[in-house]
């Protein structure tokens, strides 16, 4: 690729003023003429090409002039600023910056425990963050303000753009500018066909290629790629749809967790949940009646190879009912396949083991029997911790003596020689229960809710024997005796448990629809080029027809020259290139060579000259 120092249409230095506007230029393009002449300043961006270059995009014009006085003027000015590209840009930038703190500072919605820890560790900073809403950034006033402003701006931008676009669809593509050479892609040739025939053929050809084309005077004006604008509008509209879906989802959602040991069940009412959160508009009275029972939880793991310990199957076999009549159905829930039930979804979240124990007190009476869920501390091999609380126990002589046990459960004990108390494998290969025992007051009477996985040590005393804490590692079937005849605990066996999340979130379908529309829209907006093509055919001074073609796209239109060449090729059968009387046949076909001169047929492409006036056939023909 090489360049000349000037436009081929511009006269050489001997005629600097270029007053010789082609006499043949018709009246029809007079309106666009002057604007076309000013194209140097913006080229493909289009706005200074006047009518011809106008509205290749519906992007709002920048306007930063100050308003005329009066409140109406100010309101209008403010609205124009808010809906300008500049402010949209600023708001987008603010949105991305504003999202950062939420990823670095603990968030209540994700991990409330961490937030409390943070507040305890950083007293002043914590208080300040609290004031600024830093622990719930995405629902804070300032973050909401940014995105609401952005969406107001977006609506204020889309509505006028849509009107404008509809207007553009109703109008025809603008007429050709007088000097097509000013356009970013240009070609010309001479033909023996009559101008009218060429134009008719051009219109047909362009329409066949799905251009919107019409004839104006001695030129055909055509435009294509309106879908780009449609895509862009759809994209921005889809963003609004997604915001609405998001809002609906968070205002009406409900979400709760439930841990269930094998054999137990759940029914959808507030008291049944271990934890529960809901959106502002969620009404707990309208909870759908449904429930399910966990019959069996299956987990299998890879036993050998580098993948050893990798879970292969997690499956909860359940039976569920829905509605008041409550007919039971059997099914299973897996990690990535939730159960869809009465507008809610039930997800399998995690699982673990619940050792079954029998506790007898000093009187020899069985005061507790059942499975106690232990929480895994190591997600790989399931070394788990937990507690057993037995408030009803008494001593030999009948005095209240509440019992508490604390310890851990190891599904696969490595053996004495392994030197590790940690589980070696996640399955129940060699289970052990290790407990120590406490007695006294469990603190349950205070009425405050208590963590079921922890003992409140305040009123408790650890059982000691020979100055050491009583502790025992038990296999299934083994029993630990408490000192002083206070009773015993027997490790009977193990039941698996699974925890579920039950979530109800309306608006998911809407969000997905919006997302897909946004995706299609943005792809259309970025991959489709909107461009205009003009074809002019006029009779030159020597009676031969001069065809000119030019294309205009947005500055990023990458394939405009290629497309124009293609179109010229398609027009060639109707307007074959006329032999040029004095051209050198060897040079005439030398198009592969890069030439520094104007368009073909060039008189002398090899001569690197700026004085291309004579080399330009149309100019020459019209002069």
């Amino acid at each position: 690729m090489s360049t000349t120092t000037d436009s081929p249409r511009d006269p050489d230095s001997s005629d600097a003023s270029d007053t010789g506007a082609p006499a043949g230029s018709s009246a029809s393009d007079a309106g666009a003429a002057e604007a076309g002449g000013a194209a140097e300043t913006t080229g493909a961006a289009g706005s200074d090409l006047g009518a011809a270059g106008s509205q290749l995009s519906t992007a709002p014009r920048e306007d930063i002039s100050l308003p005329s006085l009066g409140p109406v003027g100010w309101v209008r000015w403010f609205w124009r600023q808010l809906t300008s590209m500049r402010v949209a840009l600023l708001l987008l930038f603010l949105l991305s910056i504003g999202a950062i703190p939420g990823s670095l500072i603990p968030q209540t919605s994700i991990d409330p425990v961490k937030v409390e820890e943070f507040k305890a560790d950083h007293e002043t900073l914590g208080a300040l963050y609290d004031k600024l809403g830093m622990f719930h950034v995405y629902s804070s006033v300032w973050f909401s303000a940014v995105y609401l402003l952005l969406f107001i701006s977006l609506i204020g931008c889309i509505v006028p753009r849509t009107w404008q676009f509809v207007g553009q669809l109703r109008r025809r593509p603008p007429a050709a500018p007088r000097r097509l050479t000013r356009l970013p892609a240009y070609t010309t040739w001479r033909t023996d066909a009559a101008p009218d025939d060429v134009l008719a053929a051009a219109e047909r050809m362009l329409k066949k290629r799905r251009f919107r084309a019409h004839r104006a005077g001695t030129a055909v004006a055509a435009e294509k790629g309106y879908l780009r604008e449609v895509g862009n509008l759809v994209f921005h509209l889809a963003l609004i749809v997604m915001l609405v879906a998001f809002a609906v989802g968070s205002l009406w959602k409900s979400e709760g967790g439930k841990l269930i040991t094998e054999g137990d069940g759940f029914a959808n009412s507030l008291t049944q949940y271990d934890d529960f959160t809901s959106g502002a508009f969620f009404d707990t009275d309208t909870m759908e009646p449904f429930g399910f029972t966990l019959h069996k939880f299956t987990a299998t793991y890879e036993r050998t190879g580098p993948q050893k310990g990798t879970p292969r199957v997690f499956r909860a076999d359940i039976s569920y009912f829905s509605g008041a009549d409550g007919k039971e159905h059997r099914t299973s829930i897996e990690v990535n396949t939730p159960l869809d039930i009465a507008g809610s979804k039930v997800y399998l979240l995690s699982h673990g083991y619940a050792p079954q124990v029998t506790v007898k007190d000093g009187r020899g009476k069985t005061v507790y029997q059942g499975a106690v869920p232990f929480l895994p501390q190591d997600s790989k091999n399931f070394t788990s911790t937990g507690v057993v609380k037995v408030p009803g126990a008494r001593t030999k002589d009948g005095k209240p003596n509440q019992l508490g046990f604390q310890g851990f459960f190891i599904p696969t004990y490595g053996g004495k020689g392994s030197g590790s108390m940690f589980s070696q494998f996640p399955a129940l290969d060699n289970p052990r229960l290790v407990l120590t025992a406490y007695h006294g007051d469990l603190g349950l009477g205070s009425g405050l809710p208590q963590n079921v996985y922890q003992l409140k040590m305040k009123g408790l005393k650890q059982y000691q024997a020979d100055g050491r804490a009583v502790a025992q590692m038990m296999r299934a079937g083994e029993t630990m005796q408490l000192p002083g005849g206070d009773g015993s605990i027997t490790f009977d066996g193990v039941t698996p448990w699974a925890s579920f999340k039950i979530s109800h979130q309306p608006g998911n379908g809407l969000a997905l629809t919006g997302a897909v529309a946004a995706l299609l829209g943005v792809a259309g907006s970025l991959f489709i080029q909107r461009r205009r093509v003009w074809v002019r055919a006029e009779t030159g001074a020597d009676g031969v027809t001069v065809v000119e073609m030019a294309g205009l796209g947005r500055s990023e239109a990458p394939r405009l020259p290629e497309e124009l060449a293609d179109l010229a090729g398609a027009l060639a059968p109707a307007a074959p290139v006329a032999p040029v009387a004095d051209s050198d046949p060897d040079l005439g076909t030398g198009t592969e060579a890069e030439a520094d001169t104007g368009p073909l047929p060039a008189k002398n492409p090899a001569e690197p000259t700026d004085s291309d006036g004579p080399a330009d056939p149309s100019e020459g023909a019209r002069a």
């Binding site: 436009s7 990823s103 198009t591």
Partner: protein
């Protein structure tokens, strides 16, 4: 240990060998590229300066190109299409490339590319054997992610080369950073082949992660082009203003040979604009998967937050290009910030921030 396990260990071992060999060959490619630049510096082309001074007062000039094959049968002469650079931008030709038109430089350049192809083959082999050894897609931790990322970036570069795109200028920066990335991967980030948690057993994960890796690797090329654009743009601005400070000899020699600022800018834009829909899709796929696995499609988990920030930052970049007064350098800086967000999402968030996505294991 049974036979299958042993075979897997052998595969993992072979994978490491392949990655190390790839690094050795990349190093040779790096040296060949250096030779290309050194030999190329001996040619004094000065096209940029010539173009800029000759055009100092001229309006937008015209470039002439030959057309593609036209459609007419009887036509011997095809009309030529004249293209005109967008006004307002400088009308500067692309530089001649690292070799500067010298034969020796060009030879080394070709050697460098051949070596890159060889290194890439080894590299891909390393990634594939790693995948076989763990019997899953090789994206479970940062070591695997980094090696795959680099393989995709080099693959995209080689693909564009095969398509005869003018991107040989990308060779040296790309090979250099790939070496850094792999070095970091085998030393700091190395993790023995490991397992995945069951939440990751979803085909949406493969779609989501592979799109994320492809997006990032391709965006990386855009980011390199943007950095070069900033240098080259300043260089051209200095040349265009003969009264001002002129670039030094070294800067002149290197930047002269790069494509023009306008070409680099256009390349970066096309990359970013092409990847933006893919990145949008990556987010959607992630949301669908999160909905299936965790029961919510969006939860402002740190990883999600940074994916969102990256997306908004690229939207900013695209908007800036359509906004008067923000085109050019300012938009370029926004593009770099956006890529910085992408990088932080993968390195920063994995290392510094705890979240649901922290299964990866550094």
């Amino acid at each position: 240990m049974n036979i299958a396990a042993a075979a897997n260990e052998t595969l993992a071992h072979n994978s490491n060998l392949l990655v190390y060999s790839a690094m050795a060959v990349y190093t040779l490619a790096f040296l060949a590229h250096m030779a290309e630049w050194v030999f190329g510096s001996r040619s004094k082309v000065g096209r940029t300066a010539a173009a800029l001074t000759a055009h100092a007062n001229a309006p937008a000039a015209v470039t002439v190109r030959s057309t593609q094959q036209g459609g007419g049968t009887a036509v011997l002469e095809r009309p030529q299409v004249i293209t005109k650079t967008a006004a307002g931008s400088r009308d500067v030709p692309d530089g001649p490339g690292a070799a500067g038109g010298t034969e020796k430089g060009d030879l080394y350049g070709r050697i460098a590319i051949s070596l890159t192809v060889l290194a890439w083959a080894l590299h891909v082999g390393g990634v594939l054997t790693r995948a076989l050894s763990v019997q899953r897609a090789p994206w479970g931790n940062m070591y695997e992610f980094s090696t795959t990322f680099a393989a995709v970036a080099v693959g995209a570069y080689l693909l564009l080369l095969t398509l005869k795109k003018n991107i040989r200028w990308l060779g040296l920066p790309l090979v250099t950073t790939v070496l850094l990335d792999l070095g970091l991967a085998v030393s700091v980030l190395y993790t023995a082949s490991d397992q995945l948690v069951p939440a990751l057993h979803s085909y949406w994960l493969w779609i989501h992660v592979s799109c994320a890796i492809i997006s990032g690797a391709v965006l990386y090329m855009g980011a390199v082009a943007t950095v070069l654009f900033l240098f080259r743009d300043r260089y051209e601005a200095k040349l265009a203003d003969p009264a001002g400070k002129q670039p030094g000899a070294f800067a002149r020699s290197v930047l002269e040979r790069l494509p023009s600022a306008a070409s680099l800018d256009k390349f970066a834009y096309r990359i970013n604009a092409t990847v933006f829909p893919l990145w949008t899709f990556t987010i959607i796929a992630g949301a669908i998967w999160a909905e299936a696995a965790w029961g919510r499609y969006w939860g402002w988990d740190p990883k999600e937050v940074w994916t969102f920030i990256t997306w908004v930052a690229y939207a900013c970049y695209l908007h800036a290009r359509a906004t008067v007064g923000w085109k050019g350098r300012k938009a370029a800086w926004l593009g770099l910030i956006a890529f910085g967000c992408y990088l932080f999402n993968y390195y920063g968030v994995n290392i510094f921030v705890q979240g649901l996505h922290s299964y990866a294991g550094v």
